[in-house]
Amino acid sequence: MAATSAPLAKTVLRPSANAVGIALLLVLAYGIVPLVGTSYLYEAILTPFLALSLAALGLNLLTGYAGQLSLGSSAFMALGAYAAFNLSLRLPFLPLPVTIVLAGLVAATAGLAAGLPALRLRGFYLAVSTLAVQFFVGWVLNRFAWISNDSPSGVISAPPLVIAGLSFEDARGRYLFSLTVVALLTFLAWRLVTSPTGRSFVAVRDNETAARVIGVKVARTKLLAFALSSFVVGVAGVLWAFAYLRTVEPAGFNLDRSFQILFIVIIGGLGTLRGAFLGAGLIVVLPLLLSRFGAAVLGDGFDSGTLEMCQRIALGTLIVAFLIREPAGLAALLDRAVRCLRRAD
């Protein structure tokens, strides 16, 4: 009796503990950070962190929850960014939130098309077909000059971030803008993964045949996963271009970026929402902290190239150590730490 009541108590307790944690995080992010942060913190750390976390969240819906490996994430980011640029250029009367949603839909449509091979291919073969999307999108952006408004160098500059006369142009505004978009989409993603649709994602991931037997429409589920994931990744692309860099060139969305997002998901924890944020923390923020730390300890005189190499070695060792300690990613590591603390109570 005691054995069954304990996990029950836990399941009742856990959401509230989670809710408290999330509430605390939101208070920190909205209430405290904007008061004490510096422009460096917003512009160089938090905004890219938020954008890549969102991209990883999107990929995690596809790879972590629905089990479809994709190497085309940065292509969807590019689609979102260029779609938003063109929408705001050609339909300037659209309010920014509408532009962002439409840009996400453009990415989602492309995601739907990219998901078609998933109906026949699995695992590494599917990864190769998404790789084709990565190169195809890069080629299209380079090929058709109107996409970058005939700019001779193909580089576009982002329009100002203004919603209903409210400007988010300064560093703090950009941060708050990104934060709101990310918080909103994370909430929707959470609703999704706890819904029947989210459960059918997991069913497809764990065993396609079994999923089909219990009545999950596998083809529809896979395509939906591709579309929803691409939508989120596309919006992340808009944040990356509009809120963070304020300029976009096709080369910025290359295969390296896709790998980066995939690694964030793997290291953070497949099939968890917080994994995306933890992974982005490790891949995006930690190298910067290491580099600041190295520069502070060794001073300006030290050769910056050697310093960079040392950081890479340190980061690589950390990743290897993390994955040995916890192959399921940082999210699982965090869970274990929380469990340890609970037991200590």
């Binding site: 160089a44 890219p48 380079n142 580089v155 080369a251 190239g305 960079e308």
Partner: protein
């Protein structure tokens, strides 16, 4: 006793603080934050360019004690040529006191900085590259594509080919093939080649090489079929040596291939070995270490063991000399601004004024020990490129040697295109172009409070 100890200690602390304060107040310093790239695929260019730049700043500090007593300082942040790392370094270093100018040597990073530096009122120097329409200083007050932009480079190459044929009218009926890198950078000059082809009556065939360009068999078969008189190489990275090697295989002579400004370094030709012998490339700064300023860098900076290049053999290489010339232009802009605003640490906006009055004629260039290294520069409020001349150098298998005069690109033809493009930018961003004549008149009036 304890009170005495405390008093002593507080006196000591106060004294140190005072010393630090007065020290900071006395030492005028001008700072150059560097977004360098010494790691990653473009490290060869990065170490050469930033090495040369630092070497020249070092020379000015050791030999002259700074610019009129104002010490030059710098700090480096590694970007690996990645845009987001460049932005991070910008945000990290922008709060340093007394920043003179930013010199990223990366088109991507420069683009991402235009909004930021304009807001922060600090000059952005994109020597030999960057956004072509930023030549129009009326719309881009803080951006300086010094010496050469992609359009003038194109015109310079055509003028050179004409000089090899014996005049612009001799270009009529000739065929020029342009082999360009499949990227926004590579495609930027397509309309300019078309325009010049129409103007001078030559035929131009523009052939794309997809990035990274390590397979060019089909492109060179096309060239073989076309039998062009010249091939212009608008390359990048590994594409350049592969082009030279494939040219040799298809039997196209290297001395009829002309490289652009990103295909002109030792790193582009050495991997091609024998195939690169006779290859010609454009440059704004001659290579070699025989110029007085490089002799001084070798003697004063490397002699004291403070040289920045790990390999002394690279002194005088293309990227190192570009760094040296970049150093000269930055230092002389600071000097020009000091003439007007006083011999002290200047603000970014004051250094911007200095760049807009950066006039180095041939005599001044010779006095700086750079005669033959680069020709001259004449930057104004409206023209941020500064009428840089170009020259052409030929690779003999071991070193580059200059094979042409200093050639002036046809700026008059290019200016209307640049102004049209900058006007579009101004409209997109809701900017009103500056009135240069008015500003000039205002700046001639004696400054108040000097």
């Amino acid at each position: 006793m304890p009170t005495l100890k405390i008093r002593l200690r507080s006196a000591l602390v106060a004294g140190t603080a005072l010393l630090a304060l007065t020290g900071a107040a006395n030492a005028d310093e001008q700072h150059f934050p560097l977004q360098s790239y010494r790691v990653g695929p473009y490290a060869a260019g990065g170490t050469g360019f930033f090495g040369g730049f630092i070497d020249y700043l070092n020379l000015i500090n050791t030999r002259d004690g700074g610019v009129n007593g104002v010490k030059l300082t710098w700090s480096e942040g590694e970007t690996q040529y990645e845009v987001e790392r460049g932005v991070e370094v910008y945000e990290r270093l922008k709060s340093r006191p007394g920043i003179a100018a930013w010199n990223p040597l990366s088109v991507g990073i420069a683009y991402a900085m235009i909004d930021r530096i304009t807001k922060d009122k600090v000059p952005l120097i994109t020597i030999n590259h960057g956004r072509t329409d930023s030549t129009d200083g009326r719309v881009f007050p803080y951006v300086f594509p010094l010496l050469l932009n992609p359009y003038s480079e194109t015109s310079g190459i055509v003028e050179y080919l004409a000089s090899r044929e014996g005049g612009l009218e001799k270009l009529k009926g000739k065929t020029i093939a342009v082999l360009f890198h499949g990227s926004p950078y590579g495609k930027e000059t397509i309309p300019i080649y078309e325009l010049l082809a129409k103007k001078y009556g030559f035929k131009v065939e523009q052939i794309e090489v997809p990035h990274p360009g390590n397979e060019q068999q089909s492109q060179w078969l096309t060239i073989r079929r076309l039998k062009p008189d010249y091939v212009v190489l608008r390359g990048w990275g590994v594409m350049n040596p592969v082009a030279l090697k494939t040219a040799q295989k298809t039997g196209f002579p290297a001395n009829r291939i002309v490289g652009n400004v990103w295909s002109n370094s030792e790193e582009d030709v050495i991997p091609a070995g024998e195939a690169a012998k006779g290859y010609v490339a454009i440059t704004t700064q001659a290579s070699g270490a025989e110029y007085p300023v490089l002799q001084e860098v070798t003697k004063t900076v490397y002699g004291a063991g403070t040289g920045n290049l790990a390999d002394r053999k690279r002194i005088g290489s293309v990227y190192h000399n570009l760094g040296i010339v970049n150093g000269i232009l930055n230092v002389e802009a600071v000097r020009a601004a000091q003439e007007k605003f006083g011999k002290r640490t200047l603000t970014g906006d004051e250094v911007r004024w200095g760049f807009e009055h950066l006039r180095l004629d041939e005599a001044r260039v010779a006095a700086l020990g750079a005669k033959g290294l680069f020709h001259s520069i004449n930057v104004t409020c409206a023209n941020h490129e500064g009428e840089g001349r170009v020259t052409f150098q030929q690779w003999d298998g071991a070193k580059w040697s200059v094979v042409s005069d200093w050639i002036a690109p046809d700026w008059a033809t290019l200016r209307p295109i640049i102004e049209a493009s900058s006007a579009t930018y101004a409209k997109e961003h809701g900017l009103t172009p500056r009135d240069c004549a008015k500003e000039e008149a205002a700046s001639q009036a004696p400054a108040v409070g000097q």
